[in-house]
């Protein structure tokens, strides 16, 4: 039991040379400057990512055309020391509005000096994405998934070699 609970958690920590206020601000107000661009859930890449600064606020991306896609919601809001989100995206990057099937991401900010901040991220309740995981298995088995991507990758080299 304890083992299953332990395994369903991801912990990350990083130290940044910035004030706690700046670290928090970059995290929640400038997410599009650092969030991996290929991890978007809309059909188009995101132009901006927003966090509404309150408990119950939305966390969402918006593309250049103004289309919005929800990622989750703010469960706890305590700037600049912490923020907690519900995470509704399974491994398939599809949004599931059901809060009972969402995992949780808690981020704690601890000041370690005038220009040093420790950021600790804890992603819990990952097992709730079990359904998404099943889809991930199916995706991995489908020719359009990773195998397909690798095949396309290989073709690039083949076409270059053929020139």
């Amino acid at each position: 039991m304890a083992q299953a609970a332990e395994e369903a958690v991801v912990r990350k920590s990083v130290r940044v040379q910035a004030t706690i206020e700046r670290a928090f601000s970059v995290f929640v107000e400038q997410m599009e400057t650092w969030w991996p661009a290929d991890h978007h859930i809309g059909a188009q890449p995101f132009q901006a990512i927003f966090v509404e600064p309150r408990v119950g606020g939305r966390w969402y991306e918006r593309d250049a055309q103004g289309n919005e896609c929800n990622w989750g919601q703010v469960l706890a809001w305590g700037p600049p020391h912490g923020v907690t989100f519900s995470w509704h995206l399974g491994p398939d990057w599809k949004f599931n509005p059901d809060l009972a099937k969402a995992s949780e991401v808690e981020i704690r900010f601890t000041s370690e000096g005038p220009a040093a901040t420790l950021i600790e991220l804890t992603h819990t309740k990952i097992e709730r994405h079990g359904e998404g995981y099943e889809q991930l298995c199916a995706m991995l088995d489908s020719p359009n998934a990773w195998a397909g991507t690798l095949a396309a990758f290989a073709r690039v080299f083949e076409s270059q070699a053929g020139r």
């Binding site: 395994e7 990350k12 991996p36 991890h39 491994p91």
Partner: protein, 100 residues
């Protein structure tokens, strides 16, 4: 996917799962078979009972997925947070509307 969540708390027998869910025992068994085929659930023998539990390998893969996502995101965040504050000069802070 209630079965998956129930099993996240520990191993259970089919009748224990069925007793807490609004579905029939055969339906629970069928769903367990699907989960087992997907590599998410394994069964173990506990005396004469057969218990179902989450396959640690399946959960580990799910965990590995998020681990990778956050590794990438957090190192990019670190780089972004340590950038000199030049947003205003380039108009990326005030110039672009942050209003949803």
């Amino acid at each position: 996917m209630a079965i998956f969540q129930k099993l996240a708390k520990g191993p259970l027998a089919v009748h224990e799962l069925a007793g807490t869910l609004p579905v029939s025992r055969p339906a629970v068994s069928q769903h367990l078979r699907v989960l087992k085929d997907a590599g998410l659930v394994t069964d173990i023998k506990d005396g004469t009972r057969r218990l179902y539990q989450l396959d640690p390998k399946g959960l580990a893969l799910l965990r590995a997925h998020f681990d990778k996502v956050w590794d990438k995101a957090m190192s990019a965040f670190q780089a972004s947070a340590e950038q000199p504050v030049i947003g205003e000069k380039h108009g990326t802070s005030r110039g672009r509307s942050r209003r949803p």
